[in-house]
Amino acid sequence: MLALDRVSKTYRVGLLGGQELRAVRDVSFDLHAGEVVSLIGESGSGKSTIGKMILRLLAVNGGSIALDDVDVSGLRGSELRAYYRRVQGVFQDPYSSCNPIFKVDHLFSVLRDVYFPGLGEAEWRQRQTASLEAVNLEPGQVLHKYPHQLSGGQLQRLLIARALILETEFLVADEIISMLDASTRIDVLNLLGDLKVSGLGILFITHDLSLGNYISERTVILRQGRIVEMGATAKVFGNPLHPYTKMLLASVPHLHDRWGKEGEVAAAWAAAAAAAASEPCLYHAAFPAGSERPGVARPALATIEPDHLVGCCRADGEGAC
């Protein structure tokens, strides 16, 4: 199990690093084998930062990330390599993920040098073929090509195969289909679904709610670095509690269901903001101001029903609302 506990990431910006930019604040959730957790947020929400922290590409400033109760931030050398055997990532731009001057088999040969140095040629080929077939690619058709000669969908599947060859247990999929065409997206998405069924745990980072709804068991909604709502996908989408979640769901263009005509666009935005302000804050209903106990940190989210948590409704979540 991959566990994030009160993870934070703060950047120092401004002249002489005087100001702080809190990209991720107090984020906690778990990822288990055989499930997909969607991490949904808009740009600037910190979702990619969380993915990179899990992959040890960025350092964690506060809180911890643990794999099977072992903190990952202290890992070095061979321990780090062992970690990468179990946790892998696929990124957004398939063409940027592959070194353009090498053929795509370079992706695999790098892994072979690091993880399978003693493996015989025939055995290696067998492994390669198996992982490519698991993503519906034919080795003979793709391995000898350069990245620009393959389509985005093929490259993303190749990159997933790369993770599979390591027999990885957890996959961080950071917006992996947003650069693909509609018809290819579904193929890659279905592939993730099949891998989930065979035991892979996937953190599906996306800004697209309908994709998250399609593929995931649990959903985490992220806004400006903090979680505003989290829980079973059916509950979060079926009964959204946080005004931000409601706003996101209302903005998604549905098929077979038209947006209402609300007159002037400016007025519509003002009305939406006013509506959000008048609803009671469910988080502060559970943790009223003044109920903090000294020395005990208040949890970031309040549990409203089993497997459905929500945060404060205020935009920045600071103080009382």
Binding site: L80, G89, S96, S97, N99, V110, Q149, L159
Partner: protein, 306 residues
């Protein structure tokens, strides 16, 4: 003098990359196509090859000490002495041929040292970032600001005999900052590409990431940087020689010009003494810079006219 423009990854031909491209021309073929059509590169290479041939063949035709007194004093070009003789009866052509060799050696050595140091500093600063980057930046700026001429005068005051190697080393150790800056910038931009992240999560060590993933992607940039260092080193060496701070033995094109001016070749109308070395230096350095521009056009598709 501006450096080579940062190289972009090969942009897809036409409007889409979605279709598997049986039509796409591989990158190498495209480069070859433009390389052969780019007149700049072809002409520049021809000039350099011609001069290199003189530098190789010349000393064989005229072996021995080029500074020996062999001929009539101050004689114009003739059948025996193709470039005539100096005031002291030295064979100008022999000096020219040996001088060319020396000039090429200084360029290679000095340029090579500058390129290597520049690459080391540039890669480390660009890849690591943070404190290391700050420290290396400060080092780069300090070396950049040091008055090299003053330093050289001090050094020559202490050393009675100076050779070519010392001159090349000195040039290399003082001209690397430019290369370091350029390489750092390019490394910085490549580091943020996702294939570097992917290499990192493949358990590849930092050193290997730099050498096996990043550097090959900037190979054209590194090549052009070396060419600029090469040309720069020759120019600096010629200038140093010309003002008398060059090697104390042997000969080079710059030294020839130094001697020519010192012994009033201009006033005595001994054009054969100073024109060949002058043209030689101009030709080499000019050809190298033109080649750089031509290579830039080849490697960076954006600069080509459609």
């Amino acid at each position: 003098m501006s450096g080579p423009t940062p190289v972009e990854a090969f942009p897809a031909a036409g409007p889409s990359r979605a279709a598997p491209a049986d039509e796409s021309v591989s990158r190498r073929r495209e480069i070859l196509y433009f390389a052969l059509r780019g007149r700049k590169v072809v002409v520049a290479t021809a000039v350099l090859v011609a001069l290199a041939l003189v530098a190789i063949v010349g000393p064989i035709l005229r072996p021995g000490d080029p500074n020996a007194f062999v001929g009539p004093l101050g004689a114009p070009p003739s059948e025996e002495y193709w470039f005539g003789t100096t005031t002291f009866g030295q064979d100008v052509f022999a000096q020219f041929a040996h001088g060319l060799t020396a000039t090429f050696v200084v360029g290679l050595l000095g340029g090579g040292v500058a390129a290597i140091i520049g690459m080391a500093v540039g890669f480390i600063a660009g890849y690591r970032g943070g404190v290391i980057d700050e420290v290396l930046n400060m080092l780069t700026n300090v070396v950049l600001v040091i008055p090299t001429l003053a330093m050289l005068i001090v050094v020559t005051a202490y050393l009675q005999a100076r050779g070519l190697v010392l001159e090349a080393a000195f040039i290399g150790l003082t001209s690397w900052p430019w290369a370091a800056r350029a390489i750092r910038a390019q490394t910085f931009s490549l580091k943020s590409r996702e294939f570097v992240d992917l290499a990192r999560i493949s358990g590849v060590s930092s050193l290997r990431v730099v050498f096996r993933e990043i550097a090959p992607n900037m190979s054209s940039y590194l090549f052009m940087t070396f060419i600029l260092m090469f040309g720069g080193a020759i120019l600096i060496a010629a200038s140093l020689d010309f003002i008398g701070l060059g090697p104390t033995e042997g000969t080079s094109l710059g030294l020839m010009m130094y001697n020519a001016v010192a012994w009033s070749a201009l006033q005595l109308e001994m054009w054969w003494w100073f024109i060949p070395p002058g043209i030689g230096i101009t030709a080499i350095v000019g050809a190298l810079y033109v080649m750089n521009v031509g290579l830039d056009e080849i490697f960076n598709p954006r600069l080509r006219e459609s």
